[in-house]
Amino acid sequence: MAAMIRFAGISVNFGDGAGLRDIDLDVPEGALCVLVGTSGAGKSTLMRLVNRLVVPSAGTVTLAGKDIATRDPVELRRGIGYAIQSVGLFPHRTVAENIAIIPALLGWEKRRITERTDALMTMLQLDPALAGRYPHALSGGQAQRVGLARALAADPAVLLMDEPFGAVDPIVRRALRRELAAIHRETGKTILLVTHDAEEALELATLLVVMREGRILAQGSPLELTAMAADPFVRELLGGAGLPLRRLDLLHVRDAVRPGEPEAMAPEIDADASQLDALRLMLEHGATSLVVTEAGSAVGALRFADLDGRGRT
């Protein structure tokens, strides 16, 4: 697929040693690219290059094949969804008015704005009664949803999200994450998301980019980056000692199943379950193999030795 966002030879110099050096990155159209790293690694800076909140000292950023340096920044930004950690909702505007900011900037008709606002509130499971409320009346999770709705309002092809779920508790965070993954699947938007949460990064990313001190340390799919061969810093960042378990969570039972008879009395597991669930089941029952089922009927067996693809080479 063509690159929706391409960073080529990017350096950003802030004059204080921070910044970015020699960044080359292609984000394919429809990808959910997660930038992960410790704080000060340059994740947000890299993301903010895309809507020209940061200007590179060297290199070019192209969006849908066009060098963004040649585009009017205001017009460019109106075409990109932008959601940030502190939510950035305007406190003196109602929820509906906040969601409608970009459509209003683009001069949409009133009716179209209302329809779009209603649709987004439904999509993000926001109570319609909240439309006329001011942001101070919202819970953390509701505010994040409104922030996301606002970023999606003008139906942009690209969405930039800087720690979008940073300010909510873990349970709401997980729910919002699932919703974002669903929105990504349904809309096929290209999303660039910054987080320092490795679990979030592994769960959401189709393209995972690990950054450290202004450089890209590794990029690839979560499975590639969690493989044994990866860089020690990357391994530490993505989970350290817990990394094998996180990797199992990314793998499906379906991919390790082999035909044949399992041991007698083995517990059953669905082919769509994760291999981490399979491991949990084995530990629970003291079993070394499971019956893999699909739509209720057995399709094969999963052995302990086959977890994480170790059975096949």
Binding site: R48, N51, L53, P73, V74, E75, L76, R77, R78, G79, I80, Y82, I84, S86, G88, F90, P91, H92, R93, I101, I102, L105, Y134, P135, H136, R150, L160
Partner: protein, 375 residues
């Protein structure tokens, strides 16, 4: 932490005024201070009623604010009415120029009672709004009902009513003009100061220096300065500028009002949180839109507060305009000072205070109504 027992202290002061100092004074004319009269001699048994209501209000004040306000209003009403009623018998057999004046005890009592009323109304929001209205209605009823007619201030007022009304109107116009001048000068400068930090430093220091100059000196110094300017540029004189009169008063007052206005604009424009401004920028708002749709609405409470301070300052300072020939209520105050006529001074000063309090109250009300989006 224990809070200071405000009401008992104020009540003690009010009682001191009621019982300890001269309540009224009888003088053969308006220029001498006359012989003092205690409240017992002036009000007879009504003193007991006033003192009782006053003392009773203290213990009920924290729990029953409305009842406490009612008791205090009653104490004030009885004291004023009884003083007014005491005057005619005292004047019997005196020459026509004789007057019954309010004494120091009366003023101390009045002042502390008003403070007690404010304090009593504080716990209840509804009371804070209604109490001043009830107080005004009561005072108006006493005044227009003629209950205070025999007191010297009312006599002085009747002698000067048309002059006082003109002065009040002129005072309001001059204050409004000075405020308008300050707005025209310092709002754009505030905007500039917000944009350029060097301008902010220079302007802030300059306006701070103006505040340091004593007001009286500034009003006085402007006259020779304006004189020199008008000699150098005669065209200005034809444009209506003068060395005495409204011109120096307007300029001096506007300069003083400059600092709160300017500071309010600079601080108000900077009140929008940084990440909010950045979010707006990231969504493709132009900086002009960010100014008007984010900075201005978020700074509005601060703008209004600074406007209120500047307005009250204009009303108060314009009194000094009386010194440079601008007219207004200050002219009456200074005329009273020249004559050593206390009643005339009060006749000029009281409307200034009332006007300032009234404008302050109205603008506070507007401020409270405005920010619907805040908690």
């Amino acid at each position: 932490m224990r809070t200071l027992p405000v009401q008992p202290v104020l009540a003690a002061l009010a009682l001191l005024g009621l019982l300890g100092f001269g309540w009224l004074a009888v003088a053969p004319n308006r220029l001498v201070s006359g012989t003092a009269l205690s409240s017992f001699a002036a009000l007879h048994f009504w003193v007991a009623a006033v003192a009782l209501l006053l003392v009773a209000a203290v213990p009920i004040s924290p729990r029953r604010p409305a009842l406490a306000c009612a008791a205090l209003l009653a104490a004030l009403g009885v004291a004023l009415w009884a003083s007014g009623a005491a005057a005619p018998p005292l004047l019997e057999g005196m020459p026509p120029a004789a007057r019954v004046m309010a004494g120091p005890g009366f003023w101390l009592f009045l002042l502390t009672l008003l403070l007690m009323l404010t304090e009593a109304a504080r716990p209840a929001a509804a009371l804070r709004r209604t109490m001043p209205l009830v107080l005004l209605a009561m005072l108006a009823a006493l005044w227009f009902g003629g209950a205070l007619d025999a007191l010297s201030l009312a006599v002085e007022y009747r002698a000067r009513a048309p002059q006082l009304q003109d002065a009040l109107l002129r005072h309001m116009l001059l204050s409004a003009a000075a405020l308008a001048l300050a707005l025209v000068l310092f709002v754009p400068l505030g905007w500039w100061g917000f944009r350029a930090s060097r301008a902010e430093a220079v302007l802030g220091t300059t306006l701070g220096l103006v505040q340091v100059v004593p007001a009286l000196a500034l009003f006085g110094a402007l006259m020779p300065l304006l004189g020199a300017l008008l000699r150098a540029v005669p065209g200005l004189r034809e444009a209506g500028l003068e060395t005495i009169g409204a011109t120096p008063a307007l300029i001096a007052t506007a300069l003083y009002a400059g600092l709160p206005l300017w500071r309010g604009i600079v601080v108000g424009l900077g009140a929008a949180p940084r990440d909010l401004v950045e979010a707006a920028e990231g969504m493709g708002m132009t900086s002009r839109r960010i100014d008007w749709e984010l900075r201005v609405p978020l700074g509005l409470p601060i703008f209004l507060a600074s406007l209120r301070v500047a307005t009250v300052q204009c009303i108060g300072l314009m009194t000094l305009g009386g010194l440079v020939g601008a007219g207004g209520l200050g002219a009456i105050v200074f005329e009273g000072m020249a004559q050593f006529a206390t009643d005339l001074i009060l006749l000029g000063a009281l409307p200034v205070i009332l006007l300032a309090l009234f404008v302050d109250g109205v603008l506070r009300l507007v401020e409270g109504r405005l920010a619907r989006w805040r908690q």
